[in-house]
């Protein structure tokens, strides 16, 4: 199950962060997202050490914690997408697919002429679309 997704701008400013848990652990999840930004920086600045040769947008598993797995994605425009999940066996293809759809939703949201670049995404349509993508992620990995 995906517990948290986040969009982080090119100056490491949060653009959108949403947790999907019943419990009151949003702060803890935000902390995990915050920590993962350092890992993203490290991956991008030392591509050889981390085996990232093709400059792919998908950064793979950033780091596992006790209960969570954190995945990252970095676009050409230096916007980072972070995914925190509790699933133990996640297929890479599923995560890639998730990020591709998430990116498409993000592009549609920022193409809104009323969206101010670099500011938080407040669109309800975007939030709805993201929660749909998150829900369908659970389904595809179960099946």
């Amino acid at each position: 199950m995906i517990v948290c997704v986040a969009v982080v701008g090119h100056q490491n400013n949060p653009l959108y962060i949403q947790s999907f848990t019943e419990a009151d652990d949003a702060l803890k999840l935000h902390h995990i997202v915050h920590c993962s930004l350092d890992v993203v920086d490290e991956r991008v600045n030392n591509p050889k050490k981390s085996g990232l040769t093709l400059n792919e947008t998908f950064l793979g598993l950033l780091y596992p914690t006790e209960n969570y797995k954190v995945y990252g994605y970095l676009t050409n425009t230096k916007v980072k997408f972070i995914l925190v999940t509790t699933d133990l066996d996640v297929r890479d293809a599923d995560v890639r697919n998730f990020f591709r759809r998430f990116h498409a939703a993000y592009v549609d949201a920022v193409s809104n002429p009323f969206h101010v670049p670099g500011k938080r995404i407040t669109s309800k349509t975007f939030a709805e679309r993201v929660s749909n993508i998150v829900k369908s992620f659970g389904l595809s990995s179960a099946g």
Partner: protein, 178 residues
């Protein structure tokens, strides 16, 4: 899923935008009108670059990003690539389009004849206003890709033999500091 836009609508929109900014909102201050039109282009370029770089690996250096502008970005906008790319390797790039689509339907007004200027220079003067929008698009796209720069357009700097009024060539120079 690609969406298509009517070419004539874009042409009319650009013409109308330039006309309203130059003749209505900022009729006394053309440099302010130019800045506003450039700012609109900037936002458009910013958003388009987000969309068109979606399925691509990340660019490793500036040249790769400029090449993307010349090839894929230009193809998406104008269905053709930039014809010539020159650089001095010190932060200046010159993009030359030998048949710039947005200028191909512009002509000077023959009814306004003050006798002092030849029609060609008059047309060039009128055209320069229409080039701020594409300049803004290029600047917006590049700054979104992490290259802050200044972009200017020129229709008269080409050598006379290359210059052709029917084809409407256009040069965009991009300058950025390392």
């Amino acid at each position: 899923m690609g969406r298509e836009v009517s070419e004539s609508c874009i042409d009319s929109l650009l013409t109308e935008m330039v006309a309203s900014y130059c003749n209505q909102f900022y009729s006394n201050t053309p440099e302010l009108a130019a800045r506003r039109i450039e700012a609109i282009g900037y936002q458009v370029g910013h958003q388009l670059s987000e969309r068109y770089t979606m399925d691509r690996p990340r660019f490793t250096d500036h040249l790769e990003a400029i090449k993307f502008i010349c090839k894929d970005f230009w193809s998406e906008l104008f269905k053709k690539q930039i014809d010539n790319l020159k650089t001095n390797h010190r932060g200046t790039f010159v993009l030359q389009d030998n048949k710039f689509r947005w200028l191909s339907r512009i002509s000077g007004d023959p009814s306004v004849d003050n006798g002092t200027q030849d029609p060609e220079s008059k047309a060039a003067q009128a055209m320069s206003m229409y080039l701020y929008f594409p300049c803004g698009i290029i600047r917006g796209a590049l700054s979104n890709l992490g290259i802050p720069c200044a972009v200017s357009a020129d229709i008269s700097s080409l050598p006379a033999c290359e210059y052709n009024w029917i084809l409407r060539p256009c040069c965009f120079s991009i300058k950025y500091a390392f």
